[in-house]
């Protein structure tokens, strides 16, 4: 399961609690309390103080070798091998979070309340999967991020209607949305988004008796979506580069409601070449709308 793997990844990626307490004491990260005001003294680990480069230093001769040293001129410094500098990882400056860009994928379910949906599915729930790209930026140096994004999701349904007809339906829909997120503390956001877009529905109804007949229809309807949820992601202090980390990952849970305008279902019969004029019947209205929940994983660049 992707969710369980992600949770495992989050657990193993986090340092041990003892280490975290030590690090936290010496290096608070800048996400939840970051302020560029000069009044605050920069944390020690976050201060971009350049470390002095160690220079090659001539080694002093031993004291008992002084007489011979007096008779022999010391070798020129350039003649000996230089002493390598002491090994130390270069430190990177902390990077305050001003904006965030997420790439993610999600799965979820829409619970459709229109009885007509049951013609295309044996139950009310439609499983969907999709992907999202989104971005937001910090508002007024506070905990609120405002942004938006685009996503795409797809779901399908199948039912053997009345034991006589194959009824299939596929919905593909791009979604543009606005997103408002609040960082409760770094690693835990609550958010809400509203959006909308076109919903492309393809449906078919077919039967087979002595001959096979199938009707097809494609419809474009309006879709609006509103969801709220929580995001859990790795805070910078848990990442190897800590405050300088530029990428993290997490998952989110959301729930809401998706509205789609009604489809007047009237499949067109598939016919052979040069057919007789063919008319079909109005099967009724289909409103694919209802409560939705989803679970997603994302990679965040910040």
């Amino acid at each position: 399961m992707p969710s369980s793997m992600l949770i495992l990844a989050l657990v193993f990626a986090a340092p041990a609690a003892a280490d975290r307490s030590a690090v936290a004491a010496e290096a608070p990260t800048a996400v939840e309390a970051w302020s560029p005001a000069a009044a605050d003294p920069p944390p020690a680990s976050a201060t971009p103080t350049p470390a002095p480069m160690p220079m090659p230093v001539p080694v002093a001769p031993p004291a008992q070798d002084a007489p011979s040293a007096a008779t022999q001129p010391p070798p020129p410094p350039s003649a000996g091998p230089p002493t390598p500098p002491p090994s130390r990882e270069p430190t990177r400056p902390d990077r305050p979070i001003r904006w965030r860009v997420d790439l993610g994928g999600d799965i979820g379910t829409t619970v459709n309340f229109d009885p007509a949906w049951r013609a295309f599915d044996y139950n009310r729930s439609a499983f969907h999967a999709g992907g999202t790209i989104r971005g937001d930026f910090r508002l007024a140096d506070g905990r609120i991020f405002l942004g938006g994004g685009a996503s795409f999701r797809r779901f399908g349904a199948y039912n053997y209607l009345y034991g006589s007809f194959d009824a299939e339906l596929t919905v593909r829909e791009p979604l543009v949305f606005f997103r408002l997120a609040a960082v409760v503390r770094e690693g835990f956001d609550v958010f809400a988004h509203v959006g909308g877009g076109p919903s492309f529905t393809a449906l078919s109804l077919s039967s087979y008796s002595t001959s096979y007949n199938a009707g097809y229809q494609q419809a474009v309807t309006a879709m609006a979506d509103a969801q709220a949820g929580v995001s859990l992601y790795l805070p910078k202090k848990w990442l190897p580069r800590r405050g300088a980390a530029r990428a993290t990952a997490g998952f989110e849970l959301a729930a809401g409601y998706t509205f789609r305008s009604k489809i007047k279902v009237r499949p067109e019969l598939a016919v052979s070449d040069d057919p007789l004029p063919t008319h079909t019947s109005d099967l009724g209205d289909l409103a694919i709308r209802g409560f939705v929940w989803r679970f997603g994983v994302f990679v965040r660049f910040q």
């Binding site: 209607l161 006589s164 109804l205 063919t278 289909l286």
Partner: protein
């Protein structure tokens, strides 16, 4: 802090409502009864959803209407159109033997689906219906298949008034024979009341044919005494059909002739008024008509009232004077089983034919009593007769393998038409001088102009499931085998692809809008 009790209850109910999906409205079967042809359209009965679906072609469009029939405790056993095709009958019976206190009801819907149906309480799950030619009544009874009920009264009937709302539930007063069929022998003109005068009193007589007996009833007054006539089980007389001859100057009393399924006699029931107002009675006599009799008709010459029967074993016509029971035989010289009369301008002509026979025999009846030894004429059908349909007074259509023959009696002409499939009378209709053909299992609709005998054919897009002609909109409707509803509408006056159109999915119209 605990939420208020009311809020908790609402939350609980909301969660339960979300968790419990309502039952699937689209489960169950979609096995509709075969369509019934009415004057204006086709009518399907959907037993699973307790609905009657009216499909009415009009111009380029098809209108679909639905009407409820019965409920979840009942199921539609059968449906039929009335003879005038202006109504549709559907009988509802309990959905299962575990359903108790459910009455059987006959629904009569107007053919256009508009308006409420008339509902008759008929008290029994009858399996057959006889419709009177005068369009006034239907008689429901248990047909030859009986009933699946644990115990049923085989002689129970229901007389339904198709012009009103009345129903009479009656048990026949017979001699123990089981009812096999119901006939209206006095009604010889379609759509018209033709009461039989018995002693000057008009009676609308129905004949109930049972094992070895016939029961007669006046439908205008079912309270009158029923007349049960035993025809002799000892001689194996099993009534097959009846023929009623009204009284006239040659034979004053009406006579009901009863043909036996086997045997060499025809029963003759002379109907006589009781005189006390209690109805009528019947005097029985058995007329010997040769070795066998497979068909009969009556004919009045200038001075003799004849009963004409066909002796299939001897291949002869048997003429019997019903007054004296004397007669004569005219050998046909060809196989003969069936008879019909036609006018020849100045007189009558009897036409005799037999299934699988190769000749049609005709015999002029003018002056037959004085023309002993008259020879019949023959028209040869080379490939044998499978089906014979009387088109009008002068023409018959004969199906013979993959050939059709149009026989013109005045011209004594037989015109063969070759077909790709055997002729099926159910796939044909006669509209004016145009014969329409649409045999199931193939994809051609053909027309034959009977004046010029010029055939034309039109190719459909799909195989024909059933052929229907709707006199109201004057359209041929060909249904194709598809549970969603698939038909092609053809103009009989101009059957071409440019004037025809196809409709699909009409049986599912509005299916998504159900609650």
């Amino acid at each position: 802090m605990q939420p208020p009790l009311r809020l908790r209850s609402c939350l609980t109910l909301a969660l339960l409502a979300g968790a419990c999906a309502p039952p699937d409205p689209y489960e169950g079967s979609f096995d509709l009864l075969p369509p019934v042809t009415t004057r204006d359209g086709l009518v399907w009965v959907d037993p699973a959803r307790d609905e009657v679906v009216f499909v009415l072609p009009k111009g380029e469009s098809v209108t679909t209407r639905r009407a409820a029939v019965g409920d979840e405790h009942t199921v539609v056993a059968w449906s039929a159109a009335t003879r005038d095709r202006n109504s549709v009958l559907a009988l509802t019976i309990p959905a299962s033997a575990k359903e108790e206190d459910i009455d059987e009801q006959l629904y009569r819907f107007p053919a256009d689906g508009k308006g409420d149906p008339v509902v008759y309480d008929v008290r029994a799950p009858f399996t057959a219906a006889a419709l009177s030619p005068d369009h006034r009544r239907a008689i429901l009874y248990f047909g030859g298949d009986g009933s699946s009920e644990q115990l049923h009264n085989a002689n129970q009937i229901a007389i339904v008034d198709l012009k009103g709302k009345g129903v009479e539930n009656v048990t026949l007063n017979g001699f123990g024979g089981t009812l096999k069929s119901v006939e209206f022998p006095g009604q010889i003109v379609e759509g018209e009341e033709t009461p039989i005068l018995i002693g000057g009193v008009a009676h609308d007589i129905a004949a109930f044919l049972a094992d070895s007996e016939v029961v007669l009833m006046d439908l205008d007054d079912p309270a009158l005494d029923q007349v049960a006539v035993p025809l002799g089980s000892d001689i194996g007389f099993s009534p097959r059909t009846t023929l009623l001859r009204p009284g006239n100057g040659l034979f004053a009393d009406p006579a009901l002739f009863v043909l036996s399924a086997q045997g060499s006699e025809v029963g003759m029931l002379t109907l006589i008024d009781e005189g006390d107002g209690s109805g009528f009675t019947a005097q029985i006599s058995l007329i010997p008509v040769g070795q066998t009799s497979s068909d009969f008709l009556f004919y009045d010459s200038a001075s003799v009232p004849y009963l004409i029967t066909v002796d299939a074993a001897a291949g002869a016509l048997v003429f019997t004077d019903i007054r004296t029971q004397g007669g004569f035989v005219v050998p046909l010289g060809s196989a003969a089983q069936r008879l019909f009369l036609r006018d020849t301008g100045g007189g009558k002509q009897v036409v005799a034919w037999a299934r699988n026979g190769t000749q049609i025999a005709t015999l002029d009846l003018g002056g037959i009593e004085d023309s002993l030894g008259r020879k019949p004429k023959h028209l040869k059908i080379e490939t044998g007769i499978d089906e014979l349909v009387v088109l009008d007074n002068d023409r018959v259509l004969i199906g013979s393998g993959n050939k059709l023959y149009v026989v013109d009696f005045p011209e004594e002409q037989v015109t063969p038409l070759s077909s790709q499939v055997p002729y099926d009378p159910r796939g044909s209709a006669l509209v004016g001088d145009r014969l329409l053909l649409g045999t199931a299992g193939q994809s051609w609709v053909s027309t034959v102009d009977l004046q010029t005998l010029n055939p034309e054919s039109m190719l459909l897009d799909d195989l024909i499931g059933a052929f229907h002609y709707l006199p109201g909109p004057d359209r041929i409707v060909v249904t194709h085998d598809d549970p969603a509803g698939h038909l092609t509408i053809v103009d009989p006056a101009d059957p071409s692809r440019s004037t025809s159109h196809v409709h699909w999915g009409f049986l599912l119209q509005g299916v998504l809008d159900q609650e």
